[in-house]
Symmetry: C2
DNA sequence: CAGCATCCAGCTTGATACTG
DNA sequence: CAGTATCAAGCTGGATGCTG
């Protein structure tokens, strides 16, 4: 019998995020990191230029966006298309894998956005039972 | 900034992660954070005690696990069940909302685990084209 | 066992300035 | 426009020690 039926999360994959040394953990962090998630989410709608992206992801600094983009490009989730014009024009877009990842991320984001009232209510309940700190 | 112009599909949601001040961004960070994601993933299989969780999430320190658990409990994603026995026994389990979140998170995690070979290959390609740094 | 309090090294981040 | 370089500050997170 196949144990994966009962514990689908323990498929015998070679990679396992729960293990400290697994490289998948690093990629998960690029993807879910503060700016990684928002960058992938923004690019899911279509390709964007550097400064468009910066405006879309409210609050990201030039440096962090650049850094985030490099990490995602390196992991094969984002494709960078530079045109050697003057002024320069660089478009960023998701790769097929990037799209798959972004879809799941967006699913999570939408779930959260749709349940924020519950979260906020839970927060008040929690803070209330402990008295003000 | 009004992102609804570009995200017609979420026009009527009161919360929007792309906006810097939106509380949903904070919750997204608790959920997707380094330890938040792994903690939710571990608890999706069933309730666990503090030290069981610590062992399951390879590499987490006592302090970070405690901190993570508090944030998730406050957001209403994790329920803490303490028994006043001696020695103390405390079980953590996901709330219904926590399960929904964990499911999506695990979907993402499994996708990544299953595609790590692609990611690693992309990495080598990327590093190769730039010469060693 | 299940945590909290404290200390502190170091990584992350944001400003600012500069380049092609 | 599309970034890179540099630097200070602040937050993260690990180690340690203690409580109930």
């Amino acid at each position: 019998m196949d144990i994966t039926q009962e514990r689908p999360e323990v498929q015998d994959l070679p990679y396992n995020v729960f293990a400290k040394a697994c490289p998948s953990r690093g990629t998960l962090e690029h993807v879910t990191g503060r700016w990684g998630a928002l960058t992938l989410g923004a690019l899911h709608e279509g390709s964007l230029r550097f400064n468009e992206l910066r405006r879309r992801v409210d609050g990201v600094s030039e440096k962090m966006l650049s850094q985030t983009l490099h990490a995602l490009e390196r992991d094969g989730l984002v494709h960078r298309e530079a045109q050697p014009t003057n002024p320069p024009r660089v478009d960023y877009e998701l790769t097929p894998l990037g799209h798959e990842v972004a879809e799941r991320l967006l699913g999570l984001i939408h779930l959260l956005e749709g349940r924020m009232d519950d979260v906020l209510a839970a927060r008040e309940r929690y803070d209330g039972t402990r008295g003000a700190l």
